[in-house]
């Protein structure tokens, strides 16, 4: 076999492993023959191991053959050549995608093993692993996407599985409400992503990242679009990334997402999904280079989110929310790094942060237990030393910041008050008017209401 054939076989293996996992879980669920917990765990394990081995094999070959950019053409999913419409499926293995896909497999594998014990005999065991399969496939496709359409495909799968997992505990209302909120933010982000993809198509005639970013393997590509176009497309992509990575003004969903089971909180919102927005910005980073204004906005959004996250994390009363905002701080810094053009640093930062945060979230429940043991042993709370800010700032300012952080920057309240409420009020008024009109046409009440 030639190296290209090896690349192709391993490349298909990376994507096929999670796809088969999803097909097995989905089909058995649909025909009413659910698998046992043990079988599901084994299938998950096998899928992750095969995918990880394939990804590592590709990395090994790329290092051995000194290949920095390995595109795998799967072909056109749909094509209307006369209209220049192609939905091109293409995978790209490069310095950005390979570390990210390996990270995804490692963390998802760890979480899969953890969850099979953590959720043992839970009524939603099957549902969790079905969503997990969606998520894994979505992450792998998004990471390896060589075209913006393929990236969108994976992006959507990640979004759906995340929202369903936030609402995992069906019988309680808060997780369900939060799941809907997460989905709403994701859909706004998806709409922006779709418009950006269409704009890119219209500007460059293709959705292929190679075409969009000019020649050169990541991160050396140079975009071939004008500054004004880069600003327009870049802003849309920034909205998409902000929605997915919970950057300001969409940060409100991140702590709400912690209502889901701990394994999903750890892998989705703590480590992988929350970095997907940053990954998108890294993937299209040549566009950012074209426009200084755009880069400046990216830095500003990143730094604002980081400061907001740092402030808010300090006043959270539950550990998962505190970790969620701590994640936001790091993601904000990563986005700012991307805006400043520090691509490798951002990539390394993502990998380190994702691993650390997964560990912290998985350790969170037992950590609390340890703290309680220590406090019981010494007979009081652990000693608390005043921070620099406590010593420097006066009480009024500190109280203002405290309230601001406790209310999470009033972001949700502002969105509810100025967007959701007027929207619902308008359509409810229309609904009342329509009912009156129909009643009028029906001459008031029916004979049999």
């Amino acid at each position: 076999m030639t190296p290209d054939e090896f690349y192709y076989a391993f490349g298909i293996g990376v994507v096929a492993a999670p796809a088969v996992l999803l097909a097995v879980f989905g089909l058995t669920s649909l025909v009413g023959l659910p698998l046992s917990e043990r079988s599901m765990s084994k299938f998950t394990e096998a899928s992750v191991v095969i995918g990880l081995i394939s990804a590592v094999a590709i990395l090994g070959m790329m290092l051995a053959l000194d290949d920095r950019h390995v595109p795998l053409e799967i072909g056109n999913w749909v094509a209307i050549p006369q209209q220049h419409f192609h939905f091109h499926l293409k995978l790209v293995f490069d310095r950005l995608s390979v570390p990210f896909v390996i990270l995804s497999f490692v963390l998802c594998g760890t979480i899969g093993a953890f969850a099979s014990r953590y959720l043992h005999r839970e009524p939603g065991f099957y549902r969790f692993f079905l969503c997990y399969a969606f998520f894994l496939l979505g992450m792998v496709i998004s990471t390896l996407a060589g075209t913006i359409e393929t990236l969108f495909l994976g992006w959507e799968l990640v979004g759906l599985s995340s929202a369903l997992l936030v609402a995992f505990f069906h019988d309680r209302l808060n997780p369900v409400r939060n799941g809907l909120r997460v989905w709403t933010v994701y859909r706004i982000a998806d709409a922006a992503f779709l418009l950006a993809a269409l704009s890119l198509h219209n500007l460059t005639g293709a959705g292929d990242f190679d075409g969009l970013m000019g020649t050169g393997a990541w991160p050396e590509g140079h975009a071939t679009i004008t500054e004004s176009n880069a600003l327009l497309v870049g802003l849309l992509l920034l909205v998409a990334a902000a929605g997915k990575s919970a950057l300001i003004p969409f940060s409100g969903w991140l702590p709400r997402a912690m209502e889901g089971p701990t394994p999903s909180s750890a892998v989705f919102y703590g480590s992988l999904s929350v970095h997907l927005g940053a990954f998108l910005l890294l993937r299209v980073s040549p566009i950012l280079e074209v426009s200084v204004v755009l880069s400046g906005i990216v830095v500003l959004v990143g730094m604002t989110s980081a400061v907001f996250g740092a402030l808010t994390a300090r006043v959270q009363t539950d550990i998962k929310s505190a970790l969620a905002f701590a994640s936001l701080t790091q993601v904000g810094i990563i986005v700012a790094e991307i805006g400043l053009g520090l691509r490798y640093i951002a990539l390394i930062h993502i990998i380190g942060h994702a691993c650390l945060r997964t560990l912290q979230l998985l350790r969170a429940p037992s950590l609390l237990h340890d703290y309680h043991s220590m406090e019981n042993a010494i007979g009081s709370h652990l000693p608390h030393r005043k921070s620099l800010w406590e010593r420097v700032l006066n009480v009024r300012i500190r109280h203002w910041f405290y309230r601001f952080a406790l209310e999470r920057g009033y972001l949700d309240a502002v969105l509810d008050e100025y967007i959701v409420r007027p929207f619902c009020a308008t359509f409810r008024w229309c609904n009342r008017m329509e009912k009156k009109w129909t009643d009028f046409l029906s001459r008031g009440a029916d004979e049999k209401p």
Partner: protein
């Protein structure tokens, strides 16, 4: 015109028609159910046979072998072409699924005879290209739901007024239309043609439920059985009327104006779906939003937009049909319900929950489902023609997706619904679920054949409307002057196939 190997169209109309009479005579509802399932299955097999047969002919249009109607009326009444070929099996499938998933709790209220009669009328309408016969059949199709609303003791006035107006405008428009209307639609700008076009357009928009003449639809869902209402709206007869009667005569500016109105309807209905507290009204607005998107694409008159619309027509028909049937299955279990409370049905019927989510996501064009590529094409077409307003398609899709998940959470999550009987999915329902899921996922994973067929249909429809422009589009915008003047007669099917 080419001939099919069997009189598929006549058989697919005749079987449910005769079946309706036979089922009407049965007193036992269980037997009526079994007969109806068998008859609908037979009708579906004829419709599928017709589609396959037509596909093998590689022609734009064909008619039945042993065409009895042609023999009697000396005209091609029933014609199968690129437009209606997949719509006939889709309509037959929707009827079969509806009948199949009817539970015993609904059998006393749901008339199988009337349903079979409606199926025959619908298939005849979709098979027909003759304007006057289409008008007649559209008028007849109104009768069963009207009778049902009256039979249930509700006021028929709102539905009756709208539908009477629809038929009157359709007929009036047809009367005003000159007999010798030939050539390009842009050249037919006489006051009579404009008036006729306006009336036909208004009629089609009314039947499609475009704002502000959409209230009959919510009224129908309020007062008729869910199955009847679903079958009356889901085949999108209004869009079919647009394609057969408005598209060939209306100028481009008029069609694009309709597209803008449809776009507004789509966003408006999506917003309305989000604030509904009644499950039926929620479905009605969700469907309206999607069907308006189909109209948007149909009126764009670009190959991409039209292809997208034809794809979305099929996907929305399947997805929203399945979605409506899921709601109906839930209604069969817990009665008519609102979306204020959380129902907690997941633990009882996880399969229905999966189908609800799958069909809902397919309707919004979620990746991997049948609606994905169609929606992408539609958005691309809309944004291509209206760069700013076209983004409203994306907004409508986003709002619809939020509405779908909102409804899913309200119905299937919350404290577990307490009940003393089993609410699990029945075998007949499971068959419907698996069949719909296979079509939705299969069509989503392998979209190329469907898209290619719809693209071909779109080109043919454009060619019939404006031969020169179609050639230009087919050849990728680089057309010699000689080709631009090619007349309809000169451009044969074979030449078009070669261009493709």
């Amino acid at each position: 015109m080419r001939e099919l190997i069997l009189p598929w169209q006549e058989l697919s109309v005749l079987v449910p028609l005769i079946g309706a009479i036979a089922v009407r005579c049965l007193r036992d509802s269980d037997r009526a159910y079994r007969w109806s399932v068998a008859l609908c299955t037979l009708t579906l097999s004829f419709a599928v046979g017709e589609w396959i047969d037509f596909g093998l002919l590689h022609a734009f249009e064909a008619h039945d072998h042993w065409d009895f109607l042609k023999y009697v009326f000396h005209a091609d009444i029933f014609v199968i072409d690129e437009l209606n070929a997949p719509l006939l099996p889709l309509a037959a499938l929707l009827y079969l699924m509806t009948v199949l998933s009817t539970l015993r709790t609904k059998m006393n209220r749901f008339s199988f005879a009337s349903t079979l009669f409606s199926e025959a009328v619908l298939l005849a309408t979709l098979s027909c290209r003759h304007p006057l016969v289409i008008i007649g059949l559209c008028a007849v199709a109104i009768i069963p739901p009207w009778l049902e609303i009256r039979g249930r003791g509700h006021c028929t006035r709102a539905f009756g007024i709208h539908m009477s107006l629809f038929v009157a405008m359709l007929f009036g428009g047809w009367l005003l239309l000159p007999d010798n209307l030939v050539g390009h639609p842009e050249n037919n700008a006489s006051p009579a043609v404009l008036a006729a076009g306006a009336m036909l357009t208004a009629a089609a928009l009314l039947r499609s439920g475009i704002v502000p003449v959409h209230c009959w639809m919510t009224d129908l869902f309020d007062k008729a059985t869910l199955g009847t209402a679903l079958l009356f709206v889901s085949p999108m007869t209004g869009a079919y009327v647009v394609m057969r009667m408005v598209l060939p005569i209306a100028p481009l500016w008029a069609l694009q104006s309709i597209a803008v109105v449809s776009l507004f309807t789509s966003v408006y209905a999506a917003g309305m779906a989000l604030v509904q507290t009644d499950a039926r009204r929620f479905f009605c607005y969700l469907f309206l939003s999607h069907s308006s998107l189909v109209l948007v694409g149909l009126e764009l008159l670009t190959p991409i937009g039209l292809t997208g619309a034809l794809c979305v027509w099929i996907s929305v028909g399947l997805a929203m049909g399945g979605f409506g049937l899921t709601l109906r299955a839930v209604e069969s279990r817990i009665g008519r319900f609102n979306l204020i409370q959380y129902r907690g049905l997941y633990e009882h019927t996880p399969t229905l929950a999966a189908l609800f989510l799958m069909t809902g996501l397919a309707s919004i064009g979620f990746p991997g489902t049948i609606g994905f590529i169609g929606t992408e094409l539609l958005i691309e077409g809309a944004v291509g023609v209206f760069p700013l307003i076209g983004t409203a398609v994306v907004i409508a899709a986003a709002l619809n997706s939020i509405a779908v998940l909102h409804a899913y959470f309200r119905i299937f999550t919350g404290t577990k619904y307490t009940v003393s009987i089993s609410l699990t999915v029945r075998p007949s329902e499971r068959i419907a679920v698996v069949a719909l899921a296979a079509l939705i996922i299969g069509g989503g994973l392998f979209p190329q054949p469907g898209v290619a067929s719809r693209y071909h249909a779109a080109l043919e429809l454009l060619r019939h409307r404006d031969p020169a422009a179609a050639v230009q589009e087919t050849m990728g915008h680089d057309v010699p002057e000689s080709a631009k003047t090619t007349s309809h007669d000169e451009l044969t099917d074979r030449e078009l196939s070669e261009n493709l």
